[in-house]
Symmetry: D3
Subunit: 290 residues, 6 copies
């Protein structure tokens, strides 16, 4: 039997990745400690790996596809095929950023001031490329963790991952440049993409993962409206997807249903009511394919 080998990231993303696959229709079993979890699809094999190493093993063909951050793909300089971005939830829609940070009172103002300095980072590859692009020579030191507490005692500057910058501020650091932004990516090797069976399988999985992710931020709205109010009500609904409108059998009313972003519901429900809509209900969705 043909098999597709997919690498999933160990650690903070692991639980949400399992939950996403579950919503997409694939049940992964094996606990957070197993590196060889099982999946209820005989054509797929799962391996658990550190995010940092994922793209290296996909590029070299030990895995067909993987999920990891765009940052670590870049840090490894891996040549792989992008399948789709996976933004797990509203909260994390803000991308993580790799930033250059120095103490609030540092003399270092721009990347140019790093000449001859010492920089600690978990992403040595990302920083070395950045320095080269800027024509700066500096010592880049691999940091095993807690990078933000190393300035100013141990190094002059750091390059670290941040979402909101609050941990940096709490350590009296200021951001002076952003090296890159990063999203979670589902990607595959060039060889897998060239194999028709694998390509189709990967596209199906990507479609289902996206359908599950999209559903997290959308809801189904249903409502009834009399003919005289029909156009007013339709006018309030987001234009993106035209609503399903259905004339009811016995009373001159219309049933409308439409999928909308959850974030607009609190605005339009009061307006729909004011425009004559009745029986307005909101329902959660598992998957949405536009």
């Amino acid at each position: 039997m043909k098999k597709l080998v997919i690498g999933l990231p160990k650690g903070s993303l692991q639980e949400s990745t399992y939950a996403l696959f579950k919503k997409a229709g694939f049940t992964i079993k094996g606990g957070s400690r197993s590196y060889f979890p099982s999946i209820d699809d005989e054509e797929i094999e799962i391996r658990i790996l550190r995010s940092q190493e994922m793209s290296r093993y996909v590029e070299h063909g030990m895995l067909d596809a993987g999920i990891t951050g765009l940052d670590w793909i870049a840090a490894n300089g891996s040549d792989v095929v992008d399948l789709c971005s996976l933004v797990y939830s509203k909260q994390s829609k803000r991308p993580v950023r790799w930033v250059l940070a120095v103490p609030n009172n540092s003399d270092i103002k721009t990347v140019k001031d790093l000449e001859g300095k010492k920089i600690a980072t978990e992403g040595v590859g990302i920083v070395e490329r950045y320095l080269k692009e800027n024509g700066v020579k500096a010592e880049v030191e691999f940091s095993w963790g807690a990078t933000e507490v190393k300035v100013p005692d141990f190094v002059d500057a750091i390059v670290d991952i941040t979402e909101t910058g609050s941990s940096l501020r709490a350590n009296n650091l200021k951001i002076i440049d952003t090296l890159m932004e990063s999203y979670t990516k589902f990607f595959c090797s060039k060889d897998a993409w060239a194999d028709e069976w694998k390509k189709q399988k990967l596209e199906k999985i990507a479609l289902l993962l996206k359908a599950a992710l999209d559903a997290a931020d959308k809801v189904l709205l249903k409502l009834n409206v009399e003919e005289k109010n029909l156009e007013a009500v339709k006018g309030l609904l987001p234009a993106l997807h035209s609503p399903t409108v259905n004339k009811l059998t016995d009373n001159g009313w219309y049933a409308i249903e439409t999928v909308v972003d959850e974030s607009v519901v609190r605005e339009i429900i009061p307006e729909l009511k004011n425009s004559g809509a009745e029986g307005i209900i909101e329902i959660s969705l598992n998957k949405v394919v536009a």
Copy 2:
């Protein structure tokens, strides 16, 4: 930008209040320890306060609106505008009561027997008003907690909050009068109500909070039925909201859907089936606006 400042109650109601706002479409962030949580609506500002103090600060205009129990509004004698009652769940639909309790073997039978006695309570204001209304003079002592264990050793009677009375019974106390019943209230100051922008914003929020609360106890029932059974099936559905009936395209069947109280489903599903309904399904709801 105009701002509406809303006070939410600290403590046992806090988590359910956050969940209710979430269902209504507003995400509050900041952990249970923060007194200044953020909310994803730039027109609203949240403050966390003790239930006991809420109405005082709304009345005096430091807050535009607040959520707290009717009892504490009464205890403070606050002059505020009622927006709506918020009954968080089936379980707590039973109102909390402020009751006068004495030991099972006490000679105190009615409020009149309190003359000259000592009473412990967390709601000194409520008790003093009650005594005055009944023309009784007694010593009212503020209790910092565990009021029910203070009789008979420390005081002659207590006025305490109870839902089922079980804690009182467990301490060998009997209830001899009920001073008031209380529900959770969403309310605002008279000044906020007089400000047109604030009034409209408050009404929208109240509508959405109610829509989320109502949805907790209701479900959507869908079913198909042949024309010959249509009237019988419709006769089984609660009369309150007329169901949406739709003749299907190709086969002489009708699709019916209707929102019903979850509590009646277990009664009507067997009857619907007996009357010829097919493909009966029940779906949860996030919001319901009748």
Copy 3:
């Protein structure tokens, strides 16, 4: 008032049983330690009992009905009326099995080799019947637990409950026969079945329990399709239940909705999209009555 007394199993099944009744429309309260929990139906009384004893007390009329495994009904040899099987979830659809196991290196190959040997088991009744059917005489010893670690030091063979066999393998045991397979059963006494009021009540409860269980593995799919693609799309949907098809009011499109097994969704959504379906959404269900 007439009452139906139902026994529910203590232990690993208890929480899932309460959850199932909740989904079916009955709220049981009283914590995992109470043996007399309350239920929000005045016609029902709940008793909590060990699975092993349930059928004995139903047969003898102390309970009207009960939930326990088919295995313990068999172990007790109880003469009761089967109402329905309750398979709580996809994961446990695999039945538990009572198997005869011996050490990997044992000389015992078949049941016949047990002659004169010592066997430990929690289900003495099941094993004694099995030996008798096979015309074998052996010593059957009641095991209070941890049966699988008693071979070979304490006994020659064991009869134990297993789902996947992994615990047996981990103890270097091999399975040489299967005595029986077991599902969870909802069953009642013959007397209860003969009482018309109790019978109707039991049938209603069984219908609702089944409706809740069926909903766990099914979802509602909704989609829109143009007339030209209608037949192709319908051809992709499982034949079991014909979908609800509805011609929309204003544009030559059709709205289709159908309940499908969740397990097929990941296969058909990509195909539906390829065949021209739009606005495909998937919704969870609380109850399904076909």
Copy 4:
């Protein structure tokens, strides 16, 4: 190498048994789920078993020695050699009792009234012997647990284990007879006792277990006293073990130290101080051998 195989009880006693062996000088490793834990003495092998089965396997020679309750030894009627009693702590010095209990309003007043009745119990052997001794014929039914909630609905009386009787009282039961009292026992088989090497090893282990248990309730008191107060102070110390008295080198004072029951310390320290003792200190003990 010669080996001594000791069975330790699974369940509520397991953790305290491990702790007792640790205090006695033996470290058992393997977690609460392992049935074959390791011990840091090559001459000992540990097996974990249910309390109920322990004495059966010791008597039959599969284990050399075991720890379990006297009650289960009696229930099995096992013929074994008593090494010592193990009372794990002050709290449980009160023995557990097997009692005959009936509903508060039952007509059953004495064992004689059980004639023809039904009794549920986990200790069928204990109850059958008791009935025989009293010349009573009754049906004894094995109870898998929660015995105390089976009267009066399922049986007429129960025989259950109790320490304080509070669980029985909470179920509206009264105790009408005590069948036996039980302590935890360390015991061995007759064969092990006849083997000189095993006997000596067992006696050493028993000595150390007792030394560790005795230390839990005793402390070392040290104090200094002038010659003039020496006799008065000595008179206050418990007579059981004569204190160690030592004349100090340089000042006419005496140092006294003595091991006393912790329970008397709160009485004698104030008196010692009043009698002129100085520098009184109390020290915990790991082991005490009188």
Copy 5:
């Protein structure tokens, strides 16, 4: 039997109070939720009360003695007899303080600037006395909690309890005066002190509580030393309590033991070793009576 009724504080001090009584020789049972725990001394009865109310009930004779903070005794203005201070551990040796705090940027610099302002506090009695002593008139408002977040939005200043001031600083407040410092106190009523039996019992309990508290910060040091080094070594030991010196039987050495503050051990052990001391050991203590 004569009884002494002692009130112990509910809440954060409760667990450490139970532990202190345990170390002193009294076992209190009943869980953190019970208001009537049992104690293994028939002459004592325990009641659990809020710290804030304790002294009121002792003064009025409903309790003989109690444990609470000096601050709440002062807040209530209670006239009671001080038995001893109880400082539970090194960590909390720093007294709690009641401080007057205002926003960092407030114009209020001294108590005088409070004239006509609004102050929130949990200790209304303490603040009113303080204002009176300073001849200042201001509005004092009872705060139900989270007092530190009420400035500047709700009040002008607060009087709050603090140990390190960190919570105030985190809320951008500065301390401008200290109203009082507070320790935990064991105290009794004047009536109890006048009763000889109660007085003696209270003195015994106070002695034992102090002995247990003192032991927490002290250790026993033992060491051996040759005659030639004896004086040097003795010179290093704290002068407070003269050490116990004992000439050993057979070799011209001396054994020394002495109780010292744990905090000095790290200084003197290296010096003792340098001065010729051998076999230095340190032992924990349960109780110390100097």
Copy 6:
């Protein structure tokens, strides 16, 4: 004020390091998340760092001293001064080892067979030195974790840390060589060692840390013996440290006390009793300086 800056390891060792310092007399506060915890000695400053980086920052003078494994000192090739080994407990007395491991069925038998292969490890420095010493050329790949699951799919061999080898065996790997053994080390920089004040401070700390560690495995034995049995009893005590023998004042008995390894107590207590020793007690120790 002069300051000594000490680095302590983040992670699994952190809690036991804090506990060790506590036993040695130094209280470190600041929670497991703080990188700048406080210590109750004004002459010391604590920094928390990853074990892997510690020796690098000590060598370069950013820290005066540190605690980390000998392995990471070696991996960094750091030139530092060894102060003492710290073996935290009996359990971990077994050193951790860096081993070369391959699949059970691999053709790689010795280090020589690694020529041209790919090796994954967390300790790239350790492996490169090892290969060089053996004259082997191979690709060494930094592993971010879970190294043991990378063979055979991703690499040919691994070098990993192990204590018992059980995790390797569970992954079907065999150990074919040991590169180094490692203990936890307390060490300092050459500059700190050359500074007389720092050197003395470091020696004091090392003495106290060792005293605390030694006490974990030792106990004080005390016993009384009559003159006639004195020599026999002394003969049973370990020869290492001569016991303290003291003739008692009044009765021809001798009191003996001696510090012994806890591991021998279970052997000698039975023998001591047999030889006439009485009143044998065992006491725990906080610190031992021989």
